[in-house]
Every structure is written in C-alpha cells, then in structure tokens.
C-alpha cells in the first residue's frame, strides 16, 4: 500500500481528558498534536506546518472563535474546525461568515462526524495548496515569458539595427549601387525581418496588457514616429496638420501602435514610379474624440479587398509585409473602442480614417 502523506491535525482543548480521547481516536489516521491552551498551540504552530486545527470553543483564557481569529493573519492556511457544546448562533454565524472557521461540530462529538469533517477539511486544504502552487507556477512562467520577449526585442533587434546601420553607411559612401541591386535586396530582407519582429512584439503586448489612461500629445507622438519611420524611405515626404483643442486621454502604447502601423504602411505601399511620394497626417482632437486621417499617394487598395485587409495574415498582392500589421491595429482599436475605415483607389492612394474616443 502506498503511504499517504501524513496529515497533521492539532487539537486544542483545556480538558486533558478530551485531548487524550481525541488522540486515541485519530492517532492511527493522522499525526496528532494536542495543546491545552492557545499559548501551547501557538508554540506548536510555530514549529510545525499543521493542516487542520480543531479547537474547543469554551476555554478559560480565550474562546475557540477568538483563538481562530488570532491565527488568520499569521497562519491562514490550516483549516479550522470548532467544537462547541452550546450554540450561540450569533457568534457562530459571524465566525462562519468571516471565514474564521471551516466547520463546526457539536459536543459531545460523534466520532464519525468529526472524522468526516477532518477528512473534508484536509481535502479543502490540499485543493487550496495545489491551486496556490499553480498560481505561483503560472506567475513564474508569465515572468519568464515577459523576460523572454524583452530579450528577444533586444537580442534580435540589436544585430538587425547594426545591419541597417551598415546599409546606411554604404549609402553615405555611395556604394549602394556598386553591386547591381544586391544591397537593395539585402536591405529589403533586413527591413522585412525588423518589421516582422516588431509586429510580433506589438501583438504580444497588445494582447497582454490592459489599456491605460494617459495624457497624449498628438503632435509630439506623430513627430516622433515619423522620425523613426522615415528612415526606411527617405524619399517619402511627410506633412502634418494637427489641431488639438483639448487634452486627450487614452492608451499611449496602443495609440502609438496604430499610428506606427498606418505610417509604416503608407511608406511601404508607395508607388515606386511616383516622383513625389507623400504622406499626410491630419488630426483633429476635441473633447469627444480624436479624428485621424492618414493619406498617401501610394499603390492603393482594390475595392474588393477593403474588407479583408484587417484579417490576420492577409497580405496585399505586393507580397510585402507580414499580414499582421492591420490585424494588430484592429485588435488594438477594439481595446480602445475606436474605429477605422478605409477609402482607397488603386494607383491613386489610400486614406485611412481612425476615430479614437477621448477618455477625459
């Protein structure tokens, strides 16, 4: 027979006779500890991790309920069973309602009842303990995942940014066209990879973190994002027209994510033959909402696929991109209760209109 883990039960009663009979009764099933006063009980609890505590209600220095109450802070785990000869319903009801006791047994106890009660208490104890363990292990794997994502964002991106830096130097030194279109192809690959990594990180963060309420200055936010994104195609000219009449409160991370995606798409889907590549960012902010227009004169989107572009892994024919950008954008928008519409004609360009509620 497999040896069961030993269940430790502490019985507190000022009557030595009761302690003896309790021990005699249960010593075969449980590891029994007895105490004739609260003080003695504290000593035992200090040294031993007890699973179930049974206490008499009527003791000279302290009542069973008071004794249990005194344990809740320091020893919240053991389940508490009260044995009581008289029934003061109010005291009992309070104790149960406050979670001070798990069960109560009337005195003189019925052996079978008490046995069953202790068994149930231990079961509840074990269930709680295993739940606690699971929460801790879940917490641990969450932390690990966060650290993993953080290190990916750095370790993967660090060499990539170096590679982009090298291409940048090649351009500065006029060597970009020195090997046919090889450097250009290399640049495309590197940028796709960079874009993909950023997409994955954005998706992860968007799905994990709750929306916050922060003060957003659209001019500063857009200027910063443009300065980051325009590096990927220096030919594209940006024009901003931002009027912010009211303070805007919203989630900064997701708002940035939305702009980032729209701006990088506006650059990505430029028409290569266009000599005057441009992107307009128009924003009007009032007390109710931010109305955002991002307009480009790029390749445009055929009407038939306007509905599909927000689907996961859907990509335009140009085979650029990961098919994640607009999907993530839509997910982020739904967390902010915002909306997006698109108006586009092939070869003429696209206009994305986003509305974000102002959480003043």
């Amino acid at each position: 027979m497999i040896k069961m883990p030993s269940i430790k039960v502490l019985y507190v009663d000022d009557e030595p006779y009761n302690l003896e009979s309790f021990r005699a009764m249960f010593r075969r099933q449980y590891e029994i500890f007895t105490a004739s006063s609260a003080m003695e009980a504290y000593d035992i609890l200090e040294k031993t991790e007890v699973h179930v505590i049974v206490s008499d209600q009527k003791m000279p220095d302290i009542t069973g309920v008071e004794f249990f109450k005194s344990l809740k802070e320091k020893y919240p785990d053991p389940l508490r069973i009260l044995v009581t000869g008289f029934v003061d319903v109010q005291v009992l009801a309070d104790a149960i309602n406050h979670g001070d006791i798990y069960h109560y047994i009337t005195k003189p106890w019925n052996d079978l009842d008490l046995k069953q009660s202790i068994a149930n208490a231990y079961e509840a104890y074990a269930a709680r303990a295993s739940l606690k363990e699971k929460v801790i292990s879940l917490q641990r794997s969450n932390d690990e995942l966060n650290r993993f994502v953080y290190s990916i964002s750095h370790e993967l991106r660090a060499p990539l940014t170096s590679a982009i830096g090298i291409i940048n130097l090649i351009k500065l030194e006029d060597l970009y066209h020195s090997s046919g279109s090889y450097w250009e192809l290399m640049e495309t690959c590197i940028k796709d990879l960079d874009y993909y990594i950023n997409n994955i990180l954005d998706y992860y963060k968007n799905s994990r973190f709750e929306a916050e309420r922060e003060n957003i200055d659209f001019q500063a936010l857009v200027d910063r994002l443009i300065s980051i994104h325009k590096k990927s195609d220096l030919d594209v000219k940006f024009f901003t027209d931002i009027v912010q009449e009211n303070t805007f409160f919203g989630d900064k991370f997701r708002t940035e994510l939305i702009f980032s995606n729209l701006i990088s798409n506006a650059i990505r889907y430029q028409n290569p033959e266009e000599t005057d590549k441009k992107v307009d960012v128009l924003i009007r902010v009032n007390a109710k909402e931010a109305l955002i227009n991002i307009v480009d004169n790029g390749v445009g989107i055929p009407k038939e696929i306007h509905d599909k572009i927000f689907n996961q892994f859907f990509r335009g024919q140009s085979e650029k991109g990961t098919g994640l950008g607009l999907f993530i954008l839509k997910e982020a928008l739904s967390k902010l209760n915002g909306s997006i519409t698109v108006d586009s004609l092939p070869k003429a360009g696209s206009r994305f209109i986003v509305r974000l509620p102002n959480n003043v």
């Binding site: 660090a158 060499p159 170096s162 982009i164 830096g165 130097l169 500065l172």
Partner: protein, 151 residues
Amino acid sequence: MVSKFNQPQSIMLIDDNKVALLLCRKIIEKVNIFDEIISFQNPIYAIRHLQALEANKDLLPDIILLDLQMPEMDGFEFLDHFKNIQKEYRQNSHILILTSSIDENDAEKIRKQKIVHKLLDKPLMLDTIISIINELYPSFEYPLRGYKGTL
C-alpha cells in the same frame, strides 16, 4: 542646456557590441568635427576613464553616446556612476542614449533621467546626430547645419 564652449571637440562612444560601436564611430567620423573619438566596449572602463579625467582636472568629453543593455554594467548603472562625478566637471557633457530596444519601460526610465539629453534609436543616422549637435551648440557652424556629402 547650451554648452559654454561653443564647439564640441571630443566624443565618447560606449557599446558592448563591437559592430555597433564601429558603425557609430564611422558615422561620427563623417560628422567631421571631433578632434577626439574615444570608444569603449566596456562601460566600466569608460567610467574609470572619466574618473581619471576628473582627478586630473581635465575636460570630460562633450558628448557621450551610451548603449543601454550591456553585460556587467548597463546604461542605467553607468548613469549612476556618472552622477558621482563632480558637477563642475560633468555639466558640459551631453549624454545621448542609443538603443535598439523599443521597451516602453526603459524609455520611461530614461525620460526621468535629467542628465540624459535624448533617447535615440539605433542605428545612429548622420542627419540625426548633426541636428542634435546644431541644437546643442547653436552658435557653432563649420559646415554642419544641414551638411550633406563628404568633406
């Protein structure tokens, strides 16, 4: 804060990654105004170097470009050590953080550091560093301003 010296002469580059450090140096060389470019792969040596300058009452670099994630001592720890240098020696050094991490927590932590002039993302672009130098040293011109092409 505008430097009382109107021309930046020395710059210190700190990055544990050899390639990133070299690239950064290349860009700085192209700016073509610094007499001295000192680079460190290990921030601990960079701090020692700065402490030695302070002890000899020498001028500290005008600009320090600092990476964030580094083993042994990261950018934040570097800043803590840097703050221990006497103010009269360090106040003319402008610190720029250069990072490939887009972590929002890091960005937030950097914004709280008053001694950091700007947070830049990698790779360092020639235009970016030029406009920052223009901003920090408004009265200094050489060709700088919008400077394009090789000299």
